[in-house]
């Protein structure tokens, strides 16, 4: 856990005092990633660097796991905090192996142990140890160097990590890959991380919480979903962008919006049964057909059921698209748009039908948050099926 109490930094410059951070109060619970987000020069880096005392706070305190860090000596404090700097800062005089084992070596690990650790870290950041460990930083691409920077910070397994735009120097495609790797890593490592970014999409993707800064002030500190649903003021709103409602699609899982009461037919049912179930449930377009394992194998459109006789098996059409309950709404929407449909069957990891999701339910779910914020209790439309 990291807690900042009234943390303030005033720089004395020839042109007068610059307040880079003004009474910052916030707390990052253990095992969570907190993103410091805001426009250039708003004090993100300054706030971060006060935690490991690269910048001395003018006033205020930093607590790590409820311990006031002013009681720790600087070296001890820093060795327990992994630090990834904005400019990468690999040591050009050292090989990759020497770079990523520097902290273990400072801590006096024996050679066998830190060499093993180096290989482990290389696997973690998806770089081939034999190909890279003996190289020098100048012989790596910018993206590879940034990964090494992250590995170096992780080397001695510090509980807390400070990362200043660690993926800034990477092209968008590789950045997405590294972000995914990092999220996967974090699921196992459970570090407490302060992470500076000025990319709102990165913040939403990586952050458990987001702190929005403006001119040295912490304007809003909330979960990504809260932030997108209820920006505090116009500044936050414009910073999040016009399409902030769309960004929320990334945050909501299909299972949050699923309607699990779904009527089905089996392959042996007759078309009359299908039609009567369609009518009874009020489905306008079609009903899903499942096999013995309750896996969707086709659909019976209403129009077909009205005119055909016989078993469903003989008249079923292909399922246009299926979504997994663990997918996010962005994927669901994308599938609907691509197939020109307004509902999707949802399955679990065993491909068994769990329910269905409709466009109406999604807009309702998203809208509920916005309505709750705006205060007036608009009529909550009953969840009717398409």
């Amino acid at each position: 856990m990291i807690r900042l109490e009234n943390l303030t930094k005033v720089f004395d410059t020839p042109k007068g005092a610059v307040v880079a951070a003004d009474h910052i109060n916030m707390e990052v619970p253990s095992g969570e990633i907190c993103i410091l987000l805001g426009p250039s020069g708003c004090g993100k880096t300054t706030t971060l660097k006060m935690i490991n005392r690269i910048i001395r706070p003018t006033s205020g305190k930093v607590f790590i796991d409820n311990q006031d860090t002013t009681s720790l000596d600087t070296q001890t404090l820093r060795r327990n905090i992994g630090y990834v700097i904005q400019q990468i800062g690999l040591f050009p005089n050292m090989t990759i192996e020497e770079n990523i084992t520097i902290v273990p070596r400072l801590l006096g690990w024996n050679a066998k142990k830190y060499k093993e650790r180096a290989r482990e870290l290389m696997h973690m950041i998806a770089l081939e140890p034999d190909a890279f460990l003996k190289r020098y930083p100048s012989e790596l691409s910018g993206g590879q160097q940034q990964r090494i920077g992250v590995a170096r910070a992780l080397a001695a397994d510090p509980p807390v990590m400070l990362m200043d735009e660690p993926f800034g120097a990477i092209d968008p495609i590789n950045r997405a890959v590294i972000q995914d790797e990092f999220i996967k890593m974090q699921k196992e490592l459970k570090k407490t991380i302060m992470f500076v970014s000025h990319d709102i999409d990165e913040a939403i993707k990586m952050g458990d919480r987001i702190a929005i800064f403006r001119d040295g002030h912490l304007v809003q500190y909330a979960t990504p979903d809260e932030l997108l649903a209820a920006p505090q003021d116009n500044f936050v709103e414009s910073f999040l962008g016009e399409d902030r409602a769309l960004k929320r699609l990334n945050l909501i899982k299909v299972q949050d919006v699923i309607n699990s009461e779904v009527e089905t037919v089996t392959q042996q049912d007759s078309m009359e049964t299908a039609l009567s179930r369609i009518d009874r449930s009020g489905y306008q377009h079609a009903i899903i057909m499942v096999n013995e394992q309750r896996q969707p194998t086709g659909i019976i459109p209403r129009s077909v059921a009205q005119v055909s006789k016989g078993r469903c098996h003989d008249h079923a059409q292909q399922v246009p698209a299926i979504v997994n309950i663990n997918d996010d709404l962005r994927k669901a929407v994308s599938l609907m748009l691509a197939n020109d449909i307004t509902w999707l069957p949802c399955v679990d990891d065993n491909n068994q039908l769990c329910g269905h999701i409709t466009q109406r339910a999604m807009t309702h779910h998203l809208g509920a948050r916005f309505r709750a914020q705006s205060g007036n209790t608009a009529p909550t439309a009953p969840l009717t099926e398409e």
């Binding site: 001890t76 820093r78 060795r79 700097i85 800062g89 040591f91 005089n93 520097i102 400072l106 020098y136």
Partner: protein, 246 residues
């Protein structure tokens, strides 16, 4: 391709020149005259090298710590003015330095070593200082952020990254040093200057060359030696001479 053929031509020309020089030297008896000075050259060259070695070693021992101290952030206020003083010091002709040193310490080896030491000190201090100042702030911050103590930062990050520049300073300084040692003869310290200046006094060009040519050769050899040491010691990642082989 043109450069290569130029090189080839040059080599042939040089060979021809060396060969004709040999023929001429043999015919005119110059080579025999040179050989006459060989024992002197050997003795004086050793003396010459000792002067360089002692004054150079002292200069390195003093200049590097001095450069380090000046480059520390706590010294920032005085460092620039100190470097200015050193820079002005560099512009004083070495002969004048030797003369001053003689007027302070008299005649002999001690004032010579002192004068050489002063002349050698400046380039090394300057390069140590600028080399350390030139280490990127990001590296220093990364080193500090990792939890290195100031001494560890210096030894593991700053010095290795400044080493190439420091060695460049040592090379320049020793080249100046070897070239200045002949002047030390003037204040009574020996060395190959003895042949050069006596040769000039006696209008004996062969004697003068018997001092000058070995001086030049020593300068080249010492320079090559320092380059070799730098090649081996400066880490591959920050050694431009070794980048290509990476």
């Amino acid at each position: 391709m043109p450069i290569q053929s130029m090189n080839g031509m040059l080599r042939v020309l040089l060979l021809i020149a060396a060969f004709s020089l040999g023929v001429w030297g043999h015919a005119s008896g110059v080579i025999d005259e040179f050989l006459f000075y060989l024992p002197d050259v050997q003795f004086l060259a050793v003396e010459h090298l000792w002067l360089t070695a002692i004054s150079g070693a002292l200069a390195i021992i003093v200049a590097i710590p001095l450069g380090i101290v000046l480059s520390r952030p706590s010294m920032a206020r005085w460092a620039e003015s100190a470097m200015q003083v050193l820079n002005i010091g560099t512009t004083i002709p070495t002969l004048a330095v030797l003369a001053l040193s003689m007027s302070l310490l008299g005649i002999g080896i001690v004032p010579a070593v002192f004068g050489l030491f002063v002349a050698t000190l400046l380039p090394i201090t300057r390069n140590t200082y600028t080399g350390l100042k030139g280490v990127s702030p990001a590296l220093k911050e990364a080193a500090a952020g990792i939890g290195m103590s100031p001494a560890q930062r210096l030894m593991r990050v700053e010095l290795p990254n400044a080493l190439y520049v420091i060695f460049a300073g040592i090379r320049t300084a020793l080249a100046i040093n070897i070239g200045t040692v002949p002047l030390a003869f003037l204040i009574g310290a020996g060395g190959l200057g003895e042949l050069i200046f006596t040769g000039i006094d006696l209008y004996d060009p062969v004697m003068m060359l018997a001092g000058a040519i070995p001086t030049a050769i020593l300068a080249i050899l010492v320079d090559a030696l320092i380059a070799l040491i730098a090649f081996v010691i400066v880490p591959r990642g920050v050694n431009p001479a070794r980048k290509a082989r990476a």
